[in-house]
C-alpha cells in the first residue's frame, strides 16, 4: 500500500481538512444561505397570500361597487318613473281642469245667449203688442174693451212665439 501512497499522517490531515471545511462552510455559508432561502420562500409565500387577499378584496369591493351602482340605477329609474307618472297625472288633471272650465264657459255662454234671446223676444213681444194695439185702435177707431183685446193679443203672440220656437 505504500507504493499506492497510503500514509496515516496524510490521511489525518485530509480528515482535519475536511472537518475544518465542513465547520467553516456550515457556519458561514450553508446555514446563512439556506436560512436566507427559507426566509425568501416564507416571504414569497406571504406575498402571494397577500396578493390573493388583495385580489379577493378588490373583487369584493368591485362587486359592492357594482351592487351600489345597480341600486343607484334602480333608484334613478324609480325616480324617473315617479316623475313621469306625476307629470302624466298633472297633465291629465290640467286637461280635465281645462276641459271643465271650457265646458263651464260654454255653458255660461249658452245660458247668456238663451237669456239674451228670451229678453229680446219679450221685448219684441211687448213692442209688438203695443204696436198691434195702436194699429188696431187706429184701424178700427172704436172703443173696445182693452182687457179683452190684451188677452186676445197675448194669445196670438203666444201662438206666434210657439211658431217661432219651432222654427
Amino acid at each position: 500500500m505504500v507504493e499506492l501512497g497510503l500514509n496515516v499522517p496524510s490521511l489525518i490531515s485530509y480528515l482535519i481538512n475536511y472537518i475544518i471545511l465542513l465547520v467553516l462552510l456550515g457556519a458561514l455559508a450553508y446555514r446563512p444561505l439556506l436560512n436566507a432561502l427559507d426566509n425568501r420562500v416564507g416571504s414569497i409565500r406571504e406575498s402571494l397570500a397577500a396578493a390573493d387577499r388583495a385580489r379577493e378584496e378588490a373583487a369584493t369591493s368591485r362587486s359592492a361597487i357594482e351592487e351600489e351602482l345597480n341600486e343607484a340605477r334602480r333608484e334613478g329609474q324609480r325616480l324617473l318613473d315617479q316623475a313621469r307618472e306625476a307629470a302624466e297625472r298633472f297633465r291629465e288633471e290640467e286637461m280635465d281642469r281645462a276641459r271643465q272650465s271650457a265646458e263651464e264657459f260654454s255653458e255660461r255662454a249658452r245660458a247668456d245667449i238663451t237669456r239674451e234671446r228670451d229678453a229680446a223676444i219679450n221685448e219684441v213681444r211687448a213692442a209688438f203688442g203695443d204696436l198691434a194695439i195702436t194699429a188696431a185702435e187706429r184701424i178700427i177707431r172704436r172703443t173696445v174693451d182693452r182687457q179683452a183685446h190684451q188677452e186676445l193679443i197675448d194669445q196670438v203672440l203666444a201662438e206666434g212665439e210657439q211658431a217661432l220656437r219651432r222654427n
Binding site: 500500500m1 485530509y14 471545511l21 455559508a29 436566507a36
Partner: protein
C-alpha cells in the same frame, strides 16, 4: 472583424497547432524518425510525493533517481517487483506509512479548500433578499445538492445530510476541476533531480510537482470514504439505536432454534462486510478515476500536445463532475438504507 472571420481564424490556428502538436509530439517524432523526441516521456507516480520538508523530498527524489539508474544499468536483472522497496540495498523512494511530510496533493487540497472557502463564504455569508450574481450562482449550486439529497432522503433528512454531503461533493468537484483550470501552474512548477547535467541542462525534468490533484492521492478519497462511512453508521445508530446492529448480527432465529437462522447470520455477516467494503470501493473508485484522468492528460500531452489535449480536458471536467455526483449520491443512498425502517 466579424464573428465569422474570428471563428475562421481560431479554426485555422487550431488546425496549425494540431499539426505542429502532432509533429513535435511523441507520435510524430516516431513517425518522422527522430531519435530523440521534442518532449520528455512523463513519469507516472501513484505514490505520494512530499514537497516539504525539503530534506525528505530530496532524499526520496535521490533514492528514486538511483533506483531508476540501477534499473537502466541492469535491465535484465530487474524484474520490476523490487523497485522502490527498501530491500536492504538502498533507501526506499516511498514515504513511510507513518512518516509525516507535506505532500504536493496535500498542498493542492489546501489550495482547493481556500478557494472553496473564499468562493462560498464570500458569496453566502451575508445573503441578500435579492441576490447578486455570485450569491445566485451559489444558491443554485446549493439548491441542486439540496434537491438531490431531498429526492433520496426526503426533505427533513435531506436537510440534515446536506452539509456533509455538499462538502464532499464540492470538495471532490473543486479538486478535480481546479487541476484542469490551473493546469499550467500544476504542470509547470515542481522539483527535479538534476543529475549530471545540472538543473539548467536539457536532462532536467520535474520529478515532483509542487501541486498535484488531491484526487490522485489515495489518502484523500480514503478520508472522504471514512467520513461517509462514519456519517452513515452514525445516522444508522441514531435512527435504530442498538437495533441497527441486528442487521449485521442476526442471531435471533438461530437462538430460537430455527435452522433457517443460519442464512440470516450469513446474510448479516455479508452486510457487515459490505459496509466496510464500501470504504474500499469509495476510495479506489475516486482514486482510480482521478489518477487515470491525470495520466490520460499527461500522456496525451506527451503524444499529441496542444489542441488534442482540449478534448481530454473536456472529458476530465465531465469525469470530475460524475465522480463528485457518484460520491455524494452513494453516500446519500447508503444513508437512506441505514435510516430506513424497513425490515431487512
Amino acid at each position: 472583424m466579424t464573428t465569422k472571420r474570428v471563428l475562421l481564424l481560431i479554426g485555422a490556428a487550431s488546425a496549425v497547432l494540431l499539426i505542429v502538436g502532432f509533429v513535435i509530439g511523441a507520435v510524430g517524432s516516431k513517425m518522422f524518425g527522430l531519435e530523440k523526441g521534442f518532449l520528455k516521456q512523463p513519469a507516472i507516480h501513484l505514490e505520494i510525493q512530499p514537497v516539504f520538508p525539503a530534506a525528505t523530498r530530496d532524499a526520496l527524489l535521490i533514492a528514486g533517481y538511483e533506483k531508476s539508474k540501477e534499473k537502466a544499468d541492469s535491465p535484465a536483472s530487474d524484474s520490476g517487483q523490487s523497485e522502490g522497496k527498501d530491500d536492504g540495498g538502498g533507501k526506499s523512494k516511498y514515504l513511510g506509512i507513518m512518516e509525516f511530510a507535506v505532500t504536493n496533493t496535500m498542498l493542492s487540497a489546501w489550495l482547493t479548500s481556500i478557494i472553496m472557502l473564499v468562493f462560498f463564504i464570500g458569496g453566502a455569508r451575508k445573503p441578500k433578499l435579492i441576490p447578486g450574481r455570485l450569491q445566485a450562482l451559489i444558491e443554485m449550486l446549493f439548491e441542486l445538492v439540496l434537491n438531490f439529497a431531498s429526492s433520496i432522503l426526503g426533505p427533513e433528512m435531506g436537510r440534515r445530510a446536506f452539509p456533509v454531503v455538499a462538502t464532499i461533493f464540492f470538495f471532490v468537484l473543486f479538486n478535480a476541476w481546479l487541476a484542469i483550470f490551473l493546469i499550467p501552474i500544476y504542470q509547470a512548477i515542481g522539483f527535479g533531480f538534476a543529475g549530471e547535467g545540472g538543473p539548467v541542462s536539457s536532462d532536467f525534468a520535474i520529478k515532483a510537482h509542487l501541486l498535484r490533484p488531491a484526487g490522485t492521492d489515495l489518502n484523500m478519497p480514503l478520508a472522504l470514504a471514512l467520513v461517509s462511512f462514519v456519517f452513515v453508521e452514525y445516522w444508522g445508530f441514531r435512527s435504530h439505536r442498538f437495533g441497527y446492529l441486528k442487521k449485521f448480527f442476526a442471531f435471533g432465529d438461530l437462538l430460537r432454534g430455527r435452522p433457517s437462522g443460519i442464512i440470516n447470520v450469513f446474510v448479516g455477516l455479508l452486510e457487515l462486510i459490505s459496509e466496510f467494503v464500501r470504504i474500499v470501493s469509495f476510495t479506489f473508485r475516486l482514486f482510480g478515476n482521478m489518477t487515470a484522468g491525470e495520466i490520460l492528460v499527461v500522456m496525451i500531452t506527451f503524444l499529441v500536445p496542444f489542441v488534442a489535449t482540449q478534448f481530454v480536458f473536456g472529458l476530465e471536467l465531465l469525469v470530475g463532475l460524475i465522480q463528485s455526483v457518484i460520491f455524494a449520491g452513494l453516500t446519500l443512498v447508503f444513508l437512506s438504507v441505514a435510516v430506513s425502517h424497513e425490515e431487512h
